[in-house]
Structures are given as C-alpha cells and as structure tokens.
Symmetry: C2
Subunit: 430 residues, 2 copies
C-alpha cells in the first residue's frame, strides 16, 4: 500500500466536502460494522436503514429524494426532479459479508457530494443528474449479482429471483418483498426504468486490484469492464502408477499435463499482452484427490478451475479456442484426457468512447494527466452498457483489494475521483 | 495389459514346476485373502502361517529348512546346509493391506522352485544356494520398510523398532516379540547375518511399473535400484487477489509459478533422459487450500509433493541443485516464495556388474535376448547392495502395477524369470 501525498489539484470540491465524506464513511463504518469489517446484506433491514440515513442526509442538504419501485433511493437537485434525459450516477449500498466500507458506498457518496457541492455553490449543471443508491449488487448473499440493476432493466431471471440466501435459505423474492418491493413486475420481466430517459450512466468505484497503488495514481478512468468465461471444475484424467517404477515415456501424468497447459496458456497470455490486448487468467482452485493421492503415486486425476477475462470478446473467443486446442495437443502428447464442465460466460462491456474521452479531459484538469485502465471486476455499469446505455466509470485507488475488511481508500483519493465526476457533470451537454 | 504368448524357451524348468507354482500361488490367494486382494501383515500370525506352509512344502520336497533368529525361513539343498560362502536368493512373504498375491511371494517361490528342480533332477549346483523367505518388508504396516533385511544387517534403528502399527498402534518391537523374536540384539544394532558368508544376493520380483507389458517382454535383468529424494509438502506462497482486477504484471500467483516449476523440471528430465541417464519425477499431491481457494481469487498458496528418483547419485544431486535454482529464479520472476519441508533421501543401489552380465547371458539363453532395466521401486536387494554385498535382481512382467488387488503376473512369465535364475545358479562359480 502506498499512502498518498496530497495532490495539487486545479479543480476540486471545497474542503468541507472532504469533511462530509469522512463523516458519512465513518457513520457506515460504525453503524454497519460486523465482527470484522462491515456487513450490509442485500435486501435487508440494514440496507434499508443505510438508505434511510442517506435519504435524511440528502434532505438535510436540500436535495430531492425519491424512491423507485425497487426501493432504490434517487437523489437530485430540486430543479432536476422531473427533467429528462438525465445522467444517472449510480452505485450500490450493499457490501459482501464482513467486507470493506468503500466497495459500492463510495460511488453513492461521490454522486451525493457532487449534488451537494452544486447546491451549496449554486452551480448550474448543464444536464439533469440523478444519483441512484442501488440495493443488492453483491453475489455473496443470494448467488446472482447486479440484482437491482438487472431488475430495473427487466433482466432479473425467474431463476435468479428464486435463488436462496446463502445462510437463511429464504429466496431473493421473499427478501425483496420483506423490504416492500412488489416482485410481480420483476418476475414478469417488466423494465422498471425507462432507459430512453437515461442519457448516460456513470459510476465511481474503488479499484479492486493493485494497479493504482502500484502506479501511485489517485484515480483512473475505466475503458471497459472485462468479460469472462469460467470453468469451476475442469478435470485432467491420467493413469495412476508407482512413482518410482513407471518410466517417463509410459506415464499419463495429469499434474504434468496441467502444468504444461497452464504454462502454454501463460505464454499465450504474455503474447496477447505484448500485442496490446487485455487479458487476465486465473486458476484459483487446483487439487489432486485427497482420498487417493500420495507422494509415491502418480496421480490419476487433477481438477482445476479457470477464470479468463478480457475487455475484448475476440480475445475471449481466441482463448476459448486455444484452451481446447492445447488440451487436444496435450491429450495426444501426454496420454491424458481433459473433461470440461459447463462454461459460464459474461460478455465484456465497453465504456462509451466519448464519455471516456471527456472523463479523461476532466481527469487531466483535476490532476494534470489522465490515466485509463480496464476494470477486471464486474459492476452495475456493465448491465447498463450491455443494455445500450452509454456508460463509464471512474476508479479510486484502494489498497488491499476489496471484499475484505482491509479494503483501504484514502478520502483524499476519493475526493480526486469525485472532482473528476463533478468536473465532467459541469461540462456535460447533450 | 498384454497377455503373453507362450515363449519358445531353450532353457526352462520342467512343466511340473509350472504346476507347482500355480498350486502355491493359488494356496496363498485362498488362504491369505482379504475382502479385496490378499493381506499378509508384517510380523503377524498370518505371516507365520504363510511361512509354515512353505516350510512344510520345502520339507515335503526334500529340502533342508532352517529358521534364523528373526524367524525368517531358510531353504537349501541338504548338501548346502552348512556350506559357505553361499548365494542368497531372497524375497519377502508379507504384502501390503489388500495387495496383490505376487509382490514378494514370487521371489520366494522362484527360489524354492530352483531348489526343487535341482533336487528332483539331481543337478549339482556349483555354489551353495540358500533361499530366504524374509518377514516384514512393506512399509504399509509400521512405516519403516525392509524391516527384516535391515535387522539382519544390524541396521534397523531404534526409532524404526518402536514405530507403531498403522491400525492397532502396537510397536514393531512388540509385534516381533509376539512372533518369537528376541529384539534385544536388533535394538543393539548387532548384525544377525554374517555377510562375509554371502557370496551374492539375488532377488526375483514382479515389475511394479508397465515397462515389460509395454515392451512385450516376460522378464528383465535389473541394473540397479533407483535412489530418491522426496519432499512431502513443499509450499509456494504468493499473494491473493481478485481474479479479474489484478493485471499479470502485478500478480504473485503461486499456481502459475508451480506450473512453471514443473514444466522446467520436466524439460530437464527430458534432457537427462536424452543424455542416457535415468530419472523419474512425480508430484503426486498438489492442492490449493480448500478453506480459502475460490474460482475468482488468485490463490495465495499452493502445496505440492515431489518424489525424484534415479539410479545415479549424480543425477539426484544435480536435480536437487536444479530444483533450488529454478525455485530461486521463479521467486524473482514471479514474486512468490517457495518453502521447502524436510527432505528424505535414499541412495541408489547399483546391481553388481558381473552378476548383471551373467544374468543377461542367462536371459539370452532362456528367451533369446537379454533386456536390462532399472528398478524404480525399492527392494531388500538395495539394503544388501548398499552393505557391500554383490546383488542383482530379475523382474517378471506384471500388469496393473503392484500394491493393489489387480496386480497380475502370468505363471508362464514367472517361469521364464525362474529359468533365468536357475540357469544363472547352474553356472555360478566363485
């Protein structure tokens, strides 16, 4: 982790907004804390109370507060209450169990601060802006992710709606009803937000990787959200044998075949990066079978997961083909057999070029020069982007990753990212 | 598995010896059978009864039967009862739990058949021969291996003597005492066999790998027994992270580092083989931590075992150095850390050159041409060889590996191997 030297900014919000941000984050750190970190479960009373706190705060600062039919909160300047089209600045209020305080919340607070800054300085925003505090986004509670944004766009499936809470076993549908949502239109796939009124979608979020820490930058404009394809449990099947008695030429060793496969994929990964394309590749779960494996036994099987992500659908398709090709080669070369389980895939979501360019210009105005990067993690922005809404994101430097209590965002960095959005909103025009 | 076409042999034992072999193996298959395969536990009543059956059989065929102080059985022609030096033909009577019927037993039966053939055909063997049925050899019961041969040579350590039975928890010492052995001299490290009287040590054993099946050969002369060095649990420690959000350059991925390590070792393995040296390499246990791993998480650690074997101490030393060197390189290249647990090592045992040459000549006489191969598994022969006794082995083709109920040796192959030994014993001279 690097601590941030205060940035010399030409464009920034007033210092009292820094104090207000500190106060809001501190409120949530205290009032949603768990034994470790914070827990703000999706579609829970804690989530409702969290929104109530923000609603009251927005009201106190003279903003207009509305609720949509999904019990999301919407904040705007009074003059924008009915104006369309509008720029939607959104993020989610829920957290993972025992997570960090900033994942999701930062985006809502950033949007709110922009509205409060505009209100207090009587700045005229050229376009209407609505800040939305979305409810459930995290998959850690029920399984599906982006629940609120999918439901808004009529894209939350029946299967997702009836998925069960990981601990209490109640369905998402029941949890939604318990917080006052009529789930019938969701089940019917009815869009609950008129996207024709949404001019652009903008989301501020902490970075969940280490790039900004490593590059010593407070913020970044996001170029796109990586898509992925994943396998939870692939198997490489070989043939067991005595570790001392079987010569190399007669082995069917799945562990060496897997090592060879990962090394080949790694080489292709490097080549793809050298060509300037985007990709990440992870095999997070690897293991021989504890019921059978032994130090002196050539294993008969090893299972492993794969998670391959890229901003480019072409890279994903090429890697999917390469994976099968390499497996096929290794099956021949090493006398093993690969077994593929079901693939789960999500398409990449590209951020809107014009928005990226404009946000980059705003970032240059705020910190001197722009920095653009891909988002590896998924976000509500991807749901809107893939629905055809021009979308973009701004990342804030964050140490120690996300989804854990050690997640660490400096308020000074957050204020830089907020200033980028504020600058952008101040210059936006249809 | 390949089934054997009957071999045209110029030198063989009489067909009734084939029948006798079938009868003896059938007796053990029936009388030491377990729910699966056979179980002849080391230093057990079953082992005692097994020896009693062979003792009675040897007596019935006019051989001289003796017991040594370790309750091993010794068979010889009456005229050789006190003659020294002698060729010691030995193998073990015990099996692993639910193992195959031939591992160990085949070597005793082969030796016995040679003596019975000589007795019945009144063949004069030029040198005295003693066939020894050793008790405990398998490590599956108490942990230590080669218990009988180590104890004979005064090399069974106190720690090994007090090791506990894997299921009943009684010590090896107590089990030995229960079958009538005075363990005081063993504990004192007193040699119980005068190796100056042993001219040569010869052992027939099933092959525990697939080489003879693959090469369609009934038997082989063994050039040496691979030594090894092993690590039960090495660790590669990296840094956890979001599978989508951390670019390749900032990853410390232990799974990719391990894949790279195994691929590098595999390349060196190939080079070593191409240079004509002997080696096998196995990583039988590999795994990320089930308590922490996830498909979407860069793992922070992977553990793995290594078992590297070679007939050449130079290859083992070179691989030990290479392993450390590659780990060191990968630590730098991939930002991970390797943690080595304690190494366990066994020196290679070379078979006596002259015996290998003579046995090869005998094999040529029996089946037309000789075949020489390394033994990957350890054997009592290694204990004698490393004590300075000229030692050699003959392997019999065996399908499905050993230490399992599917172990499968054809009696016709066994008779070929026995004929090689019989031919050798008929030509031996001091």
């Amino acid at each position: 982790m690097s601590t941030t030297a205060p940035q010399e900014t030409r464009h920034s919000l007033r210092p009292k907004m820094h104090q207000l941000a500190t106060e809001i984050f501190e409120y949530f750190a205290q009032n949603t804390k768990d034994t470790e970190g914070v827990s703000r479960p999706a579609y829970s009373d804690i989530e409702t109370q969290s929104l109530a706190y923000l609603d009251a705060l927005a009201t106190r600062y003279g903003l207009c507060v509305q609720k949509d039919t999904l019990q999301n909160s919407i904040y705007c300047l009074p003059e924008h209450a009915t104006q369309t089209p509008y720029i939607l600045v959104a993020s989610h209020i829920d957290s993972v169990p025992q997570g960090g305080n900033f994942d999701g919340l930062a985006g809502i607070v950033g949007g709110l601060l922009c509205l409060i800054e505009a209100k207090q300085t009587q700045k005229q925003l050229p376009m209407a802006v609505r800040v939305m505090a979305l409810r459930g986004e995290e998959s850690a509670w029920f399984g599906p992710c982006y629940m609120a944004s999918k439901a808004l766009l009529g894209k939350l499936s029946r299967e997702e709606l009836t998925s069960k809470h990981k601990t209490d076993g109640h369905t998402l549908e029941r949890a939604m009803q318990a917080v006052g949502i009529d789930t019938a239109p969701i089940a019917a796939g009815t869009p609950l937000l008129d996207t024709s009124e949404v001019y652009q979608y903008l989301e501020l979020h902490i970075e969940q990787g280490p790039l900004l820490v490593e590059k010593d930058l407070p913020a970044a404009v996001v170029s796109g959200i990586r898509g992925n394809f994943r396998h939870k449990k692939l198997r490489c099947i070989g043939e067991a044998g005595h570790s001392g008695a079987v010569p190399r030429a007669y082995r069917h060793d799945p562990v060496f075949a897997l090592a060879d496969l990962l090394t080949r994929l790694d080489e292709s990964w490097l080549t793809i990066l050298q060509k300037g394309s985007d990709m990440v590749l992870t095999s997070g779960i690897v293991g021989t079978d504890p019921a059978r494996h032994a130090m002196t036994r050539i294993p008969d099987e090893v299972s492993f997961s794969l998670d391959i992500r890229s901003q480019s659908i072409h890279v994903l398709n090429a890697m999917r083909a390469l994976l099968r090709e390499e497996m096929c080669t290794l099956e021949k070369d090493r006398g093993v057999r690969f077994e593929l389980d079901e693939e789960h895939a999500v398409a990449p979501a590209l951020c809107d070029d014009y928005m990226v360019a404009q946000l980059s210009a705003s970032m240059a105005d705020v910190v001197g020069e722009p920095f653009v990067m891909a988002s590896g993690a998924g976000h509500d922005a991807a749901v809107f982007a893939n629905e055809g809404v021009a979308s973009a994101m701004v990342f804030v430097r964050n140490a120690n990753g996300s989804h854990n209590p050690l997640e660490q965002m400096e308020i000074s960095d957050f204020m830089v990212a907020t200033a980028i959005i504020y600058d952008y909103l101040g210059k936006a025009h249809p």
